[in-house]
């Protein structure tokens, strides 16, 4: 344990005073430390890591860590991260988002990031609620559960984050929970090492805004709930749907190879440079623009 604390210290900002803004018992600290352990294990230099976030309790995560950190607007972390990665591909780019951030206001960016396969990692801290604004139902609040804006129970249905990511084309998708902290950091590590777009859903607890509204006794009881209501992916494959009712699966859900965006883009560019036919094609595109212009307005010049 002391080694873990030592690792955490190496990666926390000396200039940023603790405690964090998070409530006692909040799972976000566990996710942050799992992320730190994963980065330490992958062995990337602190200088070469960029952590991007949006808005909400998870949005505050980057402030504490000693990387290049960018706290952006609600829902836009992945779009912002896309620009960082494309402008400087040598960086290891991680976007940390909550469920509302990633999947409601940022839902469109999320699915398109999955589809593009740019080599970066999305961490979705899923606590099924808008924590920072005080407990409004989110895109992952289960049907029937309460939020301050669903005082009689949520009439909507929740996203399955990992399935959504897989369906949208992410080339690495995994899920675990803050109860399974060690498993979580191993999944983060795999995700960071994966060449392509990776998503890790970290099921977490928000006792303050979700637990109290939904009859959970304490933050610890919520962790126990994760332990008792999650099933490793392999074991789940052998279980009946009834047995899995109300439970979530853990582990690597997708791990596949697909040409990565920057590699494909660069290949195309170097093919252009070496290939006179391709150069000619670009020339033709430009000439087509010019010819169209000429047709529109043949006299001036």
């Amino acid at each position: 344990m002391s080694e873990a604390i030592e690792t955490a210290r190496t990666y926390l900002r000396p200039s940023k005073k603790l405690p964090t803004v998070w409530c006692g018992g909040c799972g976000l600290g566990i996710i942050l430390s799992a992320m730190i352990r994963a980065i330490a294990r992958v062995g990337v230099e602190k200088n070469d890591v960029a952590v991007v976030s949006g808005i909400g309790c998870t949005g505050r995560m980057p402030t504490y860590v000693d990387f290049n950190t960018l706290h952006t607007t609600h829902g836009r972390a992945l779009a912002f991260a896309t620009g960082i990665k494309l402008a400087r591909p040598s960086l290891t780019v991680i976007a940390a988002m909550g469920d509302g951030d990633a999947l409601a206001i940022g839902g469109n960016h999320f699915i398109h990031a999955c589809r593009r396969n740019i080599d970066m990692t999305a961490i979705v801290a899923n606590n099924s609620i808008y924590g920072m604004t005080g407990g409004q139902y989110s895109p992952t609040t289960p049907h029937g559960k309460r939020g301050t804006t669903a005082p009689y129970g949520n009439v909507e249905h929740a996203f399955d984050v990992a399935s959504l990511a897989a369906g949208a084309g992410a080339t690495f998708v995994a899920r675990s929970s803050v109860y399974h902290a060690r498993e979580l950091d191993r999944l983060f590590e795999k995700a960071i090492r994966h060449k392509g777009f990776s998503v890790v859903e970290a099921v977490t607890n928000c006792y303050t805004s979700y637990g109290r509204l939904n009859n959970h006794a304490s933050p610890v009881e919520m962790l126990r709930w994760m332990k008792e209501n999650s099933v490793p992916f392999a074991a789940a494959a052998k279980m009946d749907p009834e047995e899995l009712e109300g439970k979530f699966t853990r582990g690597v859900i997708v791990d596949r190879e697909l040409p990565e965006f920057i590699e494909s883009y660069d290949e195309q560019a170097s093919a252009l440079a070496e290939n006179p036919v391709a150069v000619e094609q670009v020339g033709n595109i430009l000439r087509r623009f010019d010819a169209a212009a000429e047709r529109l307005n043949p006299k001036s010049g």
Binding site: G83, I84, A293
Partner: protein
């Protein structure tokens, strides 16, 4: 610093304003464009996408919407690339969110709005100038911004370079407010050799990385910029922040920060102002215009002069920050200021405010869809002389 020759397509070309703007961006050293297709601005992105692999060291990406485009270029700038996006009215509305983030984070970038008729979807293929106040105030909160209005393809090229230079110098997003006419009109564009193009380099921090403070202002109020991956391990946020970039939630920090964001532009307004003046001395009426309207006004001014009327012209190449000093001064020396714009009064009200009752102000409005009728501008001049 001189332009990187790789991005400069030196020579005489025959280009529309959109293509010329793309070439201006490349000449200015822009190497990242994230955009979303929208008429009448798409050609800027198309040309950039076709040209950037040949120029090298850059990338184009088509994002899922304008919210993402704007966010992506902020990221691109923080990772060290000169970055831009391009859009028109509806997309401009979506970009307002992250434009505010760019202002708060003090990110150098250029945003082109090829204006079309609005509100809403309006007239996608026809011109307007009705986003001028949105350019000034469209994102929430208090700020100052720079906006430039080219009136020809040549200027679209030239002023893209100026826009990038301003954005670097003042660390502020800079808007290039074209309109459909300028974007789609085709004229001769002369691109000079790279060594004749002056480029303002990024104000990069060069001290010990561990001592870097992302928001410590220099004497000129502008903090030094860094990029991710250079060892500075900075934090930046859209929250009100201190010199370290860390959030501070109180009125004192807000006052210090917002005041500096406003003052770094406002106190330099005269230096930023690019104005074209013509026959102002002794004029009874001065026509104040910008963008395509400046060119449409020329025959009206000439006609009035042929009739012996003393008409001067003040063209606002930069509209924001508003060239307040010059307009105030002018109002004291003329009978009237006549303002043709393709909207129902936007920049007009700024002029009226600065005229402060010293001169009459006459708006010649036009809802957009086409340019002004020369007769209407002429009638405005006559009205001013009544």
């Amino acid at each position: 610093m001189k332009a990187d020759p790789k991005g400069v397509l030196t020579g005489a070309h025959y280009l529309d304003g959109d293509h010329a703007a793309a070439e201006g961006a490349l000449a200015a050293g822009c190497r990242f464009l994230a955009g979303y297709p929208i008429t009448p601005s798409t050609e800027v992105a198309e040309r950039f996408a076709a040209r950037i692999p040949k120029v090298g060291g850059g990338v184009f990406i088509q994002m899922e919407d304008e919210l993402a485009s704007m966010a992506a270029i902020l990221g691109g700038a923080w990772a060290g690339k000169k970055s831009m996006t391009v859009t028109s009215g509806p997309g401009f509305s979506l970009m307002m969110e992250n434009l505010g983030l760019g202002i708060m984070m003090e990110v150098p970038l250029v945003l082109i709005n090829v204006q079309r008729g609005g509100p809403s979807t309006g007239l996608p293929t026809l011109p307007g100038q009705a986003d001028m106040m949105q350019a000034r105030w469209g994102s929430h909160g208090d700020y100052e911004i720079i906006a430039i209005c080219p009136s020809s393809p040549q200027e679209a090229f030239d002023y893209m370079i100026t826009a990038f230079n301003f954005s670097e110098k003042y660390r502020v997003p800079t808007l290039v407010m074209m309109d459909e006419c300028v974007g789609h009109m085709t004229e001769k564009v002369v691109i000079p050799p790279a060594d004749e193009i002056e480029i303002t380099p990024r104000k990069e921090y060069t001290g010990p990385p561990e001592e870097y403070l992302p928001y410590l202002p220099d004497k000129d109020m502008i903090p030094w910029m860094t990029k991710a991956g250079d060892g500075t391990r900075f934090h930046t946020t859209g929250l009100t922040h201190d010199e370290k970039g860390y959030p501070v939630m109180n009125a004192d920090c807000q006052e210090t920060l917002v005041r500096r964001l406003v003052d770094k532009i406002r106190t330099n307004a005269d230096e930023i102002a690019i104005l074209e003046e013509e026959e102002i001395d002794g004029a009874d009426v001065v026509l104040i215009s910008y963008g395509i309207s400046s060119r449409v006004a020329i025959p009206a001014i000439e006609r009035a002069r042929r009739e012996g009327l003393k008409v001067g012209s003040l063209r606002l190449v930069t509209v924001w920050p508003f060239p307040e000093t010059r307009v105030r001064e002018l109002a004291k020396n003329v009978k009237a200021l006549v303002i043709p714009e393709m909207n129902y009064g936007q920049v007009y009200y700024e002029i009226e405010r600065c005229a402060a009752g010293n001169a009459r102000t006459v708006l010649v409005p036009h809802a957009g869809g086409w340019v002004h009728d020369v007769d209407d501008i002429y009638a405005g001049i006559k009205e001013g002389l009544k």
